[in-house]
Every structure is written in C-alpha cells, then in structure tokens.
C-alpha cells in the first residue's frame, strides 16, 4: 500500500492516510456483545473472489480455501461429480482447459486431463529425501502408485504388453526412465540425491582463502540487501532482528502492550482504569510508562531517556520513531501495516472503535489508531534497542545494522544461516558458539572466527545454491510427471514421443494450477453440485403447489428470512396446510432503538447498516403501575444479588469472603442442577422467579407523543407518528407481496436464542436485528397494524385489511423451539379461539422441528420422538457445559427470494434463507431493489463469515471455545495474554459446508441486471462473485445463472428430479449428514389442519 505516500510530503497526512488503509487488512468485528456476521475479508471485497483470497494469503499467509484433501473426499463421496469438476475447469478461462497440448495419432492430451489428474491426485514436487523414501519404502519405481485406479492399471498393462513389456515392473520402470529422459535427467537414484553432490574442493591455499573471503563478502552483501529490502514490507525490524539474533522482541512487548490496550478498550470488566485514560491511549500509556519498572529490572538501556524524548503528539512520535529506526517514508505504510497485523484482533478492535467515536457509552474514552501505532512503535524501538545493544553495542536502526554488517559480512552469513535454516548439528553448535561468544565479550572482536564458520556454512550450502538454477530434477519434475503418466495411462514410449514443447506445456499446467486456482476450481465444482440440486428441485416444484384463490388461509405467519426458520415454516405447513407462511428480514421494517422494561439502556434493533431514528420502549400496562413498582424493587434486588455473586465475590477482601462462603452451598446446588438436570433446573429457576417476581403485563409505547419534532438518527424521537406507522406497515406487506387475501390472524415471529455459558451468544441471535432478539420488532409491528387509524390510512392508499384480521407479535426461540407470545390479552374475543388453536399448531410444529434439528446433534439419539426431541433441545439451552447449545446458521447455503409457491412443499434441510417477494406486483423491480439491498449484505455476511471460519478456523475463525476467556466485555482471548480472537469458534462451524451463498431470485433477468448495474454495493457483491445469483422465471420453470464473466446463462442440465416423500420426517430420520433437497407430498395448501 505504498501508494499512500504518493505526492504527499507532510508526514502527518501520510500517516492519516495509512490509518485509513488499515481498514482493508484488519478484522472489523464489533464488540462481541454486538456480534454481527460480516465478511471476514471485507477489506478485499472490491476484488473478485479468487483474487481476493489469493491477496489475503499473500498478506497474512492464511489460506482461505478448504484443504484439497477435503475436496477429494467430497469427490470420492459423490458430493462432487466428475461433470461438476469438468464444468468448473471450463469456467476458469485462465486455465484454457480445452487447449490440446499433445496431438498424436495414438493419443491426444488436453490441459483439462492434466488439471483433472492434478486435482484428484497430489502431483506436487517432493523433496529428494521423500523420493528416496518412496522408492525404498513403496518400491515406487517398479510398482503402480497406490492411488492409480484398477482400470487405469489394467489399461496401461494391456498397452505395454502389446509393446512387449514383460510385466508390471518393466512397465513402470520403463515409464520412470522415460520421464527422466524426457526432462533430461538421469534416472539412476544415487546417494547424492539426498545429500547433494560433494562440495567443491576450495583448497587451503592462499588463492582459495582469498576467493572464499570475496565470496563471503559478495554473498553477504546480496543477503544484506535482500534482508533490509524486506523491512517495511513484509517485515518489521522485529523480523529482521529475529533472523539475526533468534530473539523475538515482540514476545517481550506483547504482554505489556495487551495489558494496556485491553485496559484502555475495556467496557467495564475492570474496576480501575488508567487515570489518564480520557486523554487518549498514547497519553495514558506515557503517563504510566514513566512509572514502569519492568524495563529497569530487565536491563533495557536508555528507556527512560527514550521516554523523556517522546513528543506529546503521537503523530510526531510515529514519524520520529520511524526516522530513528531508519525506515524510509515510502515504506511507512507497509511498516505500520505489518506492525498492526502482528496482533490483528486487538489492532482491529482498536481501529473499529477509532471509526466509531460515538460507540455505546464509551464516548469519554477517545480511541485513536494513531495512538496505538505510536505506542507499538515506541515499544518496538525500546526493545530493539536493548537487543542491538546487547549484540552489537549500537543503536537499533536499519542504517546502523547495515553499517555493521558491511564491516562484518561473515557474521551476517553465520547469523542468518543459524537462525533461518537448519544446519548440521556440528555447524549449528559452532555458529551458536560464535553468537554466544559475541554476546559475552565486551569489545568488538576480529572477524576471523566468523569467517571460518561462514566458510564452512557456504561450503555446506554450495549444492543448495546450485540447485536453485532452473535445471530440472528427478524429485521436482520427473516424479510429478511419472505420477501423472500413471494416472493418465501413458506408456513409457508415449512419454518419449513428447517433444520439449509438450513437456513444457505439462509443467506449465502444474504451474497454472497453483493452490489458489485449484481451490477455486474445487470450490466451484462443489458449489455447482449443490446448485444443480437446488435448481432441479425448484424446477420440479414449479406449478406443483399453488394457493387456491378461493380459500382464505387459516393464518399467515411471517417468519424471519433466517435459514433456521425454513424448517419451522415447513413443519407448520405440514401440520396445518391451510396456513400460509412468509419470510422477511427479521426487523420487519421497524428500525428502532428499543428499551425493554428491564433493560438498562436502549439498543438498536435493525440491520447494522441502518441507524434508527425512533426510540420505542416497553411500559407497564395501564393499571399495572403498582405491580411495576414492586417488580422494579424485586428486579433491583435480583441485580444486587447477581452483582454480589458474580462480581463482589472476586473483588474486595472480607466482603468477598462473606459472599463466597455464604453463596457456596447455593453455587454447588446450581452447578449440580445446571449440569445434571439442566432442563428441570431451568424450569425450576423460572418458576421460582415467577413466584418471587411475577411478570408485569406491559405495552409498547410506540405512538409519537410529540409528532412535531423531527426524527433523526442523532436525536431519535420517541414513537412513530401515524403516517410513519402506516408507511412501515404498508412497506412490509408490500415487500412480501401480502396485499390481499388476509387471514383472520397474521402472526409476526421474530427470533432469538438463549443459552448458558456462551460468549458468542449474540452470534446465534437475529442478524437483521444487530445480533439481538427480533421479538420486540414483531410486537411493535403488530401493535401498529392493529390500530384502526392505521387501517384507515392504509385503505386510503389502496391496501385494505379486513376488519376481522388481527396481528400478533411473537418470538421464536431457535434454541429450544419455544414461542413467546406478546400482548395476548389484547386479542379480541372472536379471535381468541383461533389464536389458541394456532398456538397448539405452532407448539406441534416446534416439536417436529426440534426432532429435525436433533438429527445433527451428536449427543441426541438419532431416533428421538418429537416430544423427547423438544426436551432434549430445552436441556441444551440450560446446560452449563454445552458448547453447542444450537448450531446457529451452520450449513446455510442458499437464499430464495420469491413467492412461497416456489419453495412450498420442498425440503431444503434448513439451509435456505427464504424471502417473500411477489414479482407480479413489482414490474419495475423497486421492491426487489430494496430487498436485495437489505438481504444481500446480511445473507452474504452470514454466509461468508461461516465460509472463512470453516476453511481456516485457526487463522480466520477464533478456534475452539474451550480455551476462550472473555476480555473487557468486547471479545475473547485464548488464555490471558493472547490476541483478541475474531470470527466464529470451532464449535459453530464443524458441520458447515463451506460454499458461497446461492441467491435465487424469482424475477426477470432483465430486472435483476438493471439492479446490479444501478447499485454499486450489489455490483461489488455479485459482480465480484462473493455470492452466486440465479433467476427463476416467474411464469415458467426456466432458470438462468448469472456469471460475472459471461452474464446470464440458461441452466439446462438433465438432472434426476428430487425424490418425493410423504413428510419431512420420512426424509431426515436416521440421517445425520447434510441431505439433498426432496419434495413433500404433505402440505398441499388449503387442506385442513390436523391438530391433536
């Protein structure tokens, strides 16, 4: 990112720009309480997907594809078919898969064949030692490779027999010879293949010594240039010093830095923060550093003068420190970026707060990335100084190091060899002795000993440098070719018939199929396989179910678009086919700052990209003020007790003693209950709470009292005006295409999850509500839609809702599949019976849904009845030891935007986001535009976060939960002094199938194209291939796939239609793995419910 320095000379300006570019490389995860799924590589989103992943690998070293071995397993398990792989190979134009590289009468060879073999069987070059091992251990030169298929072995045998080969041994041996000859190396494996040829005799005479000294100087200067050129990008001084001394100064600074950073960013876990915290991190740290004794105790020289010389302004500090380190301004950007990437989690959190000065309640704590970088740099220099003083008795700076090693070239060679390569033991000890002796002696030594060691090292390395020439070798070239020939069934004579161009072309194929390209090909094939299943299902389902126009549904249930609700909707329809279900983003168009009765502050319930302009709160129902007062008192008591148990117990002296001692028996009881009988304990606790503190019936205060004040994000107004309410109700109903045939009951179901002992709790909640529960939105919406005034306004706008239609808000707990109903006491008399019946239907569907979910839990028996299943999931959410209370969005794979008729009666295995949209009511695509703008980023965020956390959980996810330690209420660490871990934990992604979201839109391709062109955010997401898009024609079963390179392409594969089963349970029972889609007989719309 050196462009930051272009034509700007003011160092301050350069630094400001650098901070802006950091956003592209650091994780942008919010505080864990507000966990919202987002694209882990969001900084690369402006690039096409494969390029972005390759770029991220270059920058951070983290691979972002599943390991090839996993893909091969998929291939052998039939999850990727041959044709998927072939299609995928054709799709990558850079590979030129159809190019013929060998065209002979006997056989033709296309690039495709080489690629296919290389994908299915590792053809990577091996080391000489590995080759030797293969030869002795597996007799590789006389036997077929173990992974060559039987048919191919036979074919090759047949063909060589005709050419006169006596047996398998002769065939293979001839093949090996041919491979070696064709690249011009001898096929004989001698011992030197391992140890390399003997070192050249350099002689001990004068000339030899002179030559050696010159060689050392030349080699050292080359090395010095190469090493110092790396400082800035991709190295910092730390890396250089590590190569030269084997000591890592970062390890010495890390704990100190993390303590200070964690304390500065802390959102309230610690009781005591830096008194100068409000003056910014740099100032606060400096105030503390003056009292720091660690450095004095650990013999760091000059640290006090160093601190005293620091400027007040962190910007100046950065400039000064970088100059003192001798880093050229053009390299500053790279240098600081590397510095930030040393602790990506903490740096990312710092930057995240830097960009959000108004962040929740922390406004008086300024967080500035410049401060962080300044402190980081000062620490780096203090410790680098210590190290350089110790080793060379000089300042820590690049020019000084260069100066030193220009005078002592041999030392550079010895140190570099010692700390970067593995030397033979004797040499290693010798080199180490040199370094130890240099450390111990107080004066500059002469170089003689260094030179002697350097000579030995160079002599030892001679064959290695020799091998760097482009000559071909047996292990790197002949071996892959040999394996390729076996897999392709090529005989020795055929290999011999290849000319140099053909051989070169084969090796070029290997090169083109680098790990990133191979990953991309595999991923596309994997996705293609699943995509075909979805398309085949949608095609088969076309016109199969259609809601009969004359029948009024028993009820309409509006769920969140969440993939977890797909199962619930299906089961509701199976239980009661006369119910219509719909899907919409779970905030139901009501963006608001919500404050529940027991909440201490309000929180935004809407997608993160939206800032609400309205504040809604929950208030006691009229006449319940007295019980509210009682409730408040009891609540305060409970809070105090909780504070006592959880916080006072580890803080203070005798107070803590009293708390722990008195609380111990109870704690033991709770522990036993939560572990041994979590469900009963959960119920008991709730019952006790209800007795002690009965629920207060409440209402939502959603009407604007003062309609005249404008509602702005800066000053949210309390309540919605009538016009705003009508606008929101109409908006959602129109978006979903629900504009006529209203059922007597319309239920909106928000969702949330509950669990014990789970720092990542917010990651299981509603993504469309900023990682919170969506129930309040449903409740507010229902309350608005029930108002006669609003109905009148809607009717005036042409949307008439029958007088007997009643809206109800509810919340689905995705953890235990229970449903919380709001404002039941307001339901009018005539709708009560229907509501009660509906509750029973939903309870039954919930049980069936729990049964379906249980099939994926290892601890649940595969043959649970619905009743036992619901008990199992209820136990999970109350279990203190449960690291997988539910599985969240795991296995999410596609999003289908369209009428329910398209998806109804099909089993999508809880893998599909379902968004209701009626293309017939939206000829211009305006509604679709809004849907895509909301659904695109939310769905893509979820899908991509799961993708990256799955493919590389160690680097792009946050590894296993069992080590996690909550820090500052803002994230988790491993242990007590690690980086902040971002992404999803291992437990959330174990069974995820890492693929990009497939969005199928029921609309004309023309409409979609227009939207993609018009909206930059969609263009980025879709045009760069971060999601896949397909269009289903609203009037026919035609499906087109959008490809960023080739535009729309009609999908016309002949694929077996999905199986038809009676009910979901028939399809999923006794299956633990991901299931392909199926069609269901039951659930034809309009039939009567079957409620027991």
């Amino acid at each position: 990112m050196s462009h930051a320095a272009d034509n700007v000379t003011d160092p301050r300006e350069i630094l400001r720009r650098i901070v802006a570019t950091l956003e592209h490389v650091l994780p942008a995860q919010a505080s864990i309480r507000d966990f919202v799924h987002h694209n882990t590589l969001h900084g690369f989103q402006h690039l096409p997907f494969p390029e972005a992943l390759a770029g991220a690998r270059r920058l951070t070293g983290a691979s972002a594809w599943l390991p090839e071995a996993r893909f091969r397993d998929f291939f052998h398990a039939g999850r990727i078919l041959e044709e998927d792989l072939q299609t995928s190979l054709s799709a990558v134009s850079m590979l030129a898969a159809d190019e013929v590289i060998v065209d002979q009468p006997a056989f033709t060879l296309r690039r495709r064949d080489v690629y296919r073999t290389a994908l299915l069987h590792p053809l990577r070059p091996v080391t000489a030692a590995t080759l030797a091992w293969q030869v002795t251990e597996h007799e590789a030169l006389t036997h077929f490779q173990a992974d060559v298929s039987r048919e191919m072995q036979q074919l090759l045998r047949e063909r060589t027999r005709r050419q006169g080969a006596a047996n398998v041994h002769a065939t293979i041996e001839d093949l090996w010879r041919a491979c070696c000859e064709s690249i011009g190396v001898s096929p004989e494996l001698s011992d030197d293949s391992i140890s390399g040829p003997a070192p050249p005799d350099t002689g001990h005479d004068e000339a030899g010594a002179l030559w050696q000294t010159r060689l050392i100087r030349k080699e050292a200067m080359r090395l010095l240039d190469a090493l110092t050129a790396r400082v800035g990008d991709p190295w910092t001084l730390r890396d250089l010093l590590m190569v030269l001394t084997g000591e890592d100064i970062f390890e010495q600074t890390r704990e100190h830095l993390i303590r200070h950073v964690a304390s500065h960013l802390d959102e309230g876990l610690a009781a005591w923060h830096n008194p100068a915290r409000k003056r910014g991190f740099y100032t606060a740290w400096r105030a503390s550093a003056g009292d720091e004794n660690t450095w004095a105790l650990s013999d760091l020289p000059e640290w006090r003068q160093h601190l005293e010389r620091l400027p007040e302004d962190p910007l100046e500090t950065i400039a000064q420190e970088l100059q003192l380190l001798g880093v050229k301004p053009v390299r500053w950007a790279g240098y600081l970026q590397r510095l930030a990437l040393e602790l990506p989690g903490w740096s990312g959190m710092f930057l995240w707060r830097h960009q959000r000065p108004d962040y929740n309640g922390q406004r008086d704590v300024p967080v500035n990335m410049i401060d962080y970088l300044a402190v980081r740099l000062v620490l780096e220099r203090i410790h680098a100084q210590g190290l350089c003083r110790r080793h060379w008795r000089m300042e820590a700076s690049l020019p000084m190091l260069r100066w030193h090693f220009r005078r002592h070239p041999a030392e550079l060679i010895v140190r570099h060899a010692l700390f970067t390569t593995s030397l033979p033991e004797a040499l290693h000890w010798q080199a180490q002795k040199r370094v130890m002796r240099a450390l111990a002696s107080a004066r500059e030594e002469n170089d003689r000993r260094w030179i002697a060691t350097a000579q030995r090292i160079l002599t030892h390395r001679a064959p290695v440098t020799d091998a760097a020439s482009p000559r071909r070798s047996r292990h790197e070239h002949a071996w892959p070719l040999f394996r390729l020939a076996q897999h392709l069934g090529l005989t020795g004579s055929e290999i011999r018939s290849l000319d140099t161009a053909a051989i070169n072309a084969i090796f070029e194929c290997f090169d083109r199929l680098d790990p990133d390209t191979a990953g991309n090909v595999w991923l596309c094939a994997y996705e293609g396989n699943y995509r075909d299943q979805i398309f085949a299902t949608l095609k088969a389902n076309h016109g199969r179910v259609e809601w009969p126009t004359q029948i009024r549904p028993r009820a309409q249930l509006v769920f969140c678009m969440d993939d977890r609700e797909e199962g619930m909707r299906r089961h509701v329809e199976e239980v009661a086919p006369d119910i219509q279900t719909l899907g919409a983003a779970g905030f139901f168009g009501v963006a608001m700052n919500w404050r529940g009765l027991d909440d201490l502050s309000s929180a935004a319930l809407c997608p993160v990209v939206v800032t609400p302009a309205h504040a809604i709160s929950e208030v006691p129902a009229p006449g319940k003020e007295l019980s509210q007062q009682l409730h408040q008192r009891r609540l305060d008591w409970r809070r105090r007790l909780r504070e006592l148990a959880h916080r006072t117990s580890h803080r203070g002296l005798l107070g803590a003693t009293a708390t722990t001692v008195l609380g111990a028996p109870l704690a033991l009881l709770v522990l036993m209950g939560r572990l041994l009988a979590p469900r009963s304990t959960g119920h008991l606790v709730r019952k006790l709470l209800m007795t002690f503190d009965p629920c207060v019936s409440t209402r939502v205060a959603f009407k604007a009292v003062d309609a005249a004040t404008p509602a702005t994000p800066e000053h949210p107004r309390a309540g919605f005006t009538d016009a705003e309410q009508a606008e929101r109700v109409r908006g959602l109903l129109r978006t979903m295409g629900l504009t006529s045939r209203f059922a007597p009951l319309v239920v909106l179901l928000g969702h949330g999850s509950s669990s014990e002992n789970n720092p990542h709790l917010a990651a299981y909640d509603c993504g469309a509500c900023s990682g919170r529960h969506g129930g309040p939105n449903a409740r507010v919406f229902a309350a608005m839609a029930n108002r006669p005034e609003i109905r009148v306004r809607l009717a005036e706008q042409g949307l008439s809702i029958p007088y007997d239609t009643w809206f109800i808000g509810a919340e689905h707990n995705t953890g235990d599949d229970s449903i919380l109903w709001y404002d039941e006491d307001l339901v009018p008399e005539e709708a009560r019976a229907r509501a009660t019946e509906l509750k029973m239907i939903l309870a039954r569907a919930g049980r069936a849904h729990a049964q379906e979910r249980c099939r994926r839990f290892a601890t649940a028996s595969p043959r649970l009845s619905p009743e036992r299943a619901v008990r199992h999931v209820a136990g999970r959410v109350h279990d203190l030891s449960q690291a997988r209370p539910e599985l969240g969005h795991v296995t999410n794979a596609c999003a289908i935007i369209g009428r329910r008729d398209v998806t109804r009666g099909a089993f999508f295995d809880r893998r599909a986001f379902l968004v209701s949209y009626d293309p017939m009511q939206d000829p211009e695509g305006d509604i679709l535009e809004n849907i895509l703008l909301a659904v695109g980023p939310v769905g893509a965020g979820i899908s991509l976060e799961y993708y990256f956390s799955t493919v590389n959980n160690e680097r792009l996810g946050c590894s296993t939960k069992v080590m996690h330690n909550i820090t500052g209420f803002l994230g988790v660490q491993e242990g007590t002094s690690s980086d902040l871990r971002t992404g999803l934990p291992q437990q959330m992604i174990e069974i995820h199938e890492a693929m990009r979201l497939l969005i199928v839109i029921e609309a004309d391709t023309g409409v979609i194209s227009r939207l993609i062109e018009r909206q930059p955010s969609l263009r980025e997401l879709i045009g760069n291939g971060w999601v896949q898009v397909a269009a289903k024609d609203p009037r026919s079963s035609r499906i087109d796939v959008f490809s960023p390179e080739h535009g729309w392409q009609n999908w016309q594969k002949e694929i077996e239609a999905p199986p038809v089963v009676a009910r979901s349970a028939d399809w999923f029972t006794r299956h633990r793995e991901a299931l392909p889609p199926a069609l269901l007989e039951q659930g034809r719309p309009g039939e009567h419910a079957n409620v027991d």
Partner: protein
C-alpha cells in the same frame, strides 16, 4: 475392614488415568463412541471413590472417629522408614469428599464441553491423574505419601497449562509454573529431611506427638520447609505470578486446578501441620504476614484485570491469602471452613466464566476516587507490582548466569581433571587461531624487537611441542585452559570478593 478400602480411593482415579492413557495414546481413538467410553470410565472411577468415602464418613458418624490405616512399610533403610499409611480424620475425609464431588462435576462438565477436542482423551487422563494426586494429598498418612500426590498434581497442572501445546505462550507458561513449583519442592524436601532426622518418620501422628519433644530449631526448620512448599503451591507471595500465567488451559481445567482444588493444597498442608505450627510462633507470624500481604496484593492487582479468568484468579489469590492469615492467627477451624466453601464457590464461578458477560453486563463499580487518581499506583497494579520482573532480576537471571559459569567450569576444569573428553574442538577453530600467529605487528623499536622475537619464540614453542610429543602438548593445553578459566572467573567481581573473603579468613 472398611477402613482398609481407603487405599482404593486415590487408586481408582489413578487407574482410570492409566487406562485412558493406555487406551488413547497408542491407538488414537476417534469418534464419539471413544469419547463416551473415556468420559464414562473416568466418571465411574471417581464415583467409586466417592461412594467409598461416603461409606467411610457414614461409618465414622455412626461408630465414632476412624483410626489411621497402615498398609505396612514401603521402604525402610536404617532409621528411615516410609509407610503406606492413610489418615482418616474429619479433616481428611471431608476434604477428600470435596475433591471427589468437585472433581466428578468437573469431569461431567468436560464430557460435554470438551466434545470433539483433539486432546479429549489426554485431557481426561490428566484430569484423573490430578484427582488421584489430590486424593493422595488429602488422605496421605505421612508427608512422603503426600509429597507423591504433591508432585503428581504439579505434573498434571503442567500438562494442562500446556494443553494447547501448539501455542508458544501456553508451553512457556507451563514451564514457568512448573519451575516455580520446584522451589516449593525444595522446601518440602527440606521439611521431610529434617523431620526424618529428628522424628524418625513423617507420619502426621508422629509429627503431632513429637512436636513438643524436639528442639525449637528443628521444629522451626521442618515447619519452614513445609510452609515454603505450601506457599509455592498456593501461590502466595512471592510465588504468586505463576498462577496468573497458568490460565492457558481449557476452562474446566482452570476451574479445578487454580480456582478450586490445587490452589488450596498449601492451605491443607498447613492445616495438617497444626500441631507443629503451634510450636513455631515465628513462622505463624510469617504466615499471617504473608497471607495478609498476598490478600492485599490479590485485591489490589485484581482491580485492574480486564479479562474474566485473571479477575477471578486474583480474587482467588486474595481468599487463599486470607486463609493463610487465619492460620497464622491460629484460627485453623476458620481456615478449614473457608477453604471448603471457597473451593465449592470458585468451582462454579470458573466453570461459569464464559457467561460472565451475560451475568454482569454493567460496567464494574469504579475504585474510590482517591485510589483511582493515583497514576503510579495504577501502573503498579496493572504490572502486578513487578513481582515477576523483580524475581527474574534477582533470582532467575543470576541463577542462569551462575549455571552457565558452573557449566563452563565443569567443561573446562572438572571434566579435564576427571579425564572425560571435553567438547570437541572444531578444526576450523585451530585454523583460525593459527592464523593469528602471523599477525604480530609492532610499532617503533619495541615493536620491531617484538616482531623479531615472536616468530622465534614461536619456533621454539613449535619444536617443543613437536619433539615433546603428545604429553607435553596435553599439559600445555590443559594449563592454558585452566589459566583461561581462572582469568575469566576473576573478571567477575563476585569471585574476586569470594577470594578476598577466603584470604581474609585464612589470614585470621
């Protein structure tokens, strides 16, 4: 006899640990069924131990206090005798029951929590080993048997701090904790040795009975040794830093080792020493002082901790410090009650640490203003009063330097004197040093003379060496080596001082 079964109590978990290790280490079992087998095996073993303990306690309640059990002599040499004995008084039985219950719950917790961890079986084996060790500690009838448990628990702790052995921080901290605890071991061994010298054996009963009979000095040394061991194990000052570094393992292991069980082992040892302590008032005073200091330290440092596990561990340190204070003040019963209840509470709190955020969402109550404003105090608290840096500077690094010097002394003097082959000299060294001889350069007249003399002397030397044969050569080389070492040692001021002291002593 029912009481004879007591030996089985620690043996059951030990056996479970062994079986799991045998089952898991070679075959690397995979899958949920293997996990279930391991978890059930471990739980079964601890359940059996629990049942036995419960039966013993019931019988003690009905038939009165139980007598200690002796299974005979394990080892005897002259006056020294080590018995396989167990003590079955109220303290040991209740403590063992507590260990069994908390251990069982932690195992049960882990069966679910550690599901699909690559180290699942390893974790269970080590946890069982640890429980066996804890049971040995609390049930042992003599100090030697307790020492075995003491060491096993240290080993288990080391293995679980380094559970995530791919992380350098974890392994480094594991080593640090392990090494710090070795200082405690030295104390323990000292206590053992002196106890043998004066009392003949280390049965707790003998110790209790003999406390009044032997000299105050002996009692003092024995108690001192054991108390040092107790302080290291229970992370009292100045040993505290190791425990704050020990929280690298999985949550359940942090809970059971540092929150709940192992940290209390030191307190338990002091409770066992009650009769001896009564005769060592100075040590009691020391205990009280250190306990109080540690409690204050834990409280003070805990205020700045911004991660849950650290905040909890400093709270734990505070409480354990208070227990030492009670012991120092002679309130042994209070300490025992405090110990038991505290262990229960912390077990729960550490296991529930991942939900801390959801239990206490609000910011912590800030410290009082007078304290909050003190920049220097804040820094001191955040840096944990530099205890670690201080011990590093005053103990660790000098020890390392000393060790390096001893080694070089060993290499260059002792091994040569002993005739063992010294470190191989690489030929290049000699080549390099040969080159030096041509490099004698002088200035002026003296220089010229030197230049003239040097090669001649060299020739004499060469001749001497060549004709003198290997013997002379060896002698010269050895002599040179000694001189070099002596010179290098003399460069260090401490040896100079030592020599002066010796010279003075000789003169006097």
């Amino acid at each position: 006899m029912l009481t004879d079964l007591i030996a089985l109590v620690p043996l059951f978990p030990l056996l479970a640990a062994l079986l799991i290790a045998l089952y898991a280490l070679p075959g690397r079992p995979r899958g949920d069924a293997a996990e279930r087998l391991t978890a059930r095996g471990a739980l079964f073993a601890v359940t059996l131990a629990f049942a036995l303990l419960a039966a013993l306690i019931v019988s003690a309640l009905i038939f009165g206090p139980l007598k200690p059990v002796n299974f005979g002599t394990w080892f005897a040499a002259g006056a020294i005798e080590i018995r396989l004995s167990f003590v079955l008084d109220g303290l040991s039985l209740t403590a063992a029951l507590g260990v069994a219950v908390i251990g069982w719950l932690t195992l049960f917790f882990s069966a679910q929590y550690m599901h699909r961890e690559p180290g699942f079986h390893r974790f269970f084996a080590v946890l069982c080993l640890f429980l066996a060790a804890m049971l040995f500690i609390v049930l042992a009838g003599n100090a030697v048997l307790m020492f075995i448990g003491w060491e096993l628990s240290g080993l288990a702790s080391f293995l679980l701090i380094g559970y995530a052995h791919e992380r350098a921080t974890a392994t480094r901290n594991a080593v640090r904790a392990f090494v710090t605890n070795r200082i405690g071991d030295a104390g323990f061994l000292l206590g053992l040795a002196i106890a043998y010298r004066y009392l003949g054996n280390t049965e707790w009963i003998t110790i209790a009975a003999g406390a009044g009979a032997i000299s105050h000095l002996a009692v003092g040394v024995v108690v001192f040794g054991f108390v040092v061991a107790a302080m290291a194990k229970s992370a009292q000052l100045p040993f505290t830093p190791w425990i704050a570094r020990a929280l690298e393992g999985p949550t359940p292991s942090s809970a059971i080792f540092y929150g709940s069980l192992m940290i209390h082992a030191g307190v338990y040892l002091c409770l066992r020493l009650e009769p001896l302590l009564a005769h060592a008032p100075v040590i009691m005073g020391l205990l009280a002082a250190i306990g109080l200091l540690t409690a204050l330290y834990g409280w003070f440092v805990g205020l700045t901790q911004s991660d849950v596990k650290s905040a909890l561990i400093f709270g734990t340190i505070t409480q354990v410090g208070l227990m030492f204070l009670w012991i120092g003040l002679g309130a042994f019963d209070l300490a025992a009650w405090h110990l038991g209840l505290h262990a229960m509470f912390r077990a729960y709190q550490f296991l529930a640490a991942p939900s801390y955020m959801h239990h206490t969402g609000t910011p912590a109550r800030p410290v009082p203003r007078w304290l909050g404003r003190r920049q220097a105090l804040y820094t001191a608290a955040l840096e944990r009063l530099w205890v670690e840096a201080f011990t590093d500077a005053t103990v660790t690094r000098p020890a390392q330097v000393l060790a390096a010097e001893m080694r070089s002394f060993d290499d260059q003097v002792v091994s040569r004197l002993a005739g063992t082959p010294a470190e191989q000299h690489a030929p290049e060294d000699e080549a390099a040093s040969k080159g030096v001889q041509d490099d004698v350069r002088g200035h002026g007249l003296a220089g010229a003379i030197l230049e003239w003399i040097a090669p001649r002397l060299h020739r004499v030397e060469q001749r001497l060496l060549l004709t003198g044969g290997a013997g002379v050569q060896r002698t010269f080389r050895a002599l040179g080596g000694y001189l070099e070492v002596v010179e290098r040692l003399l460069e260090r001021p401490r040896y100079l001082i030592l020599i002066i002291v010796i010279a003075l002593a000789a003169a006097l």
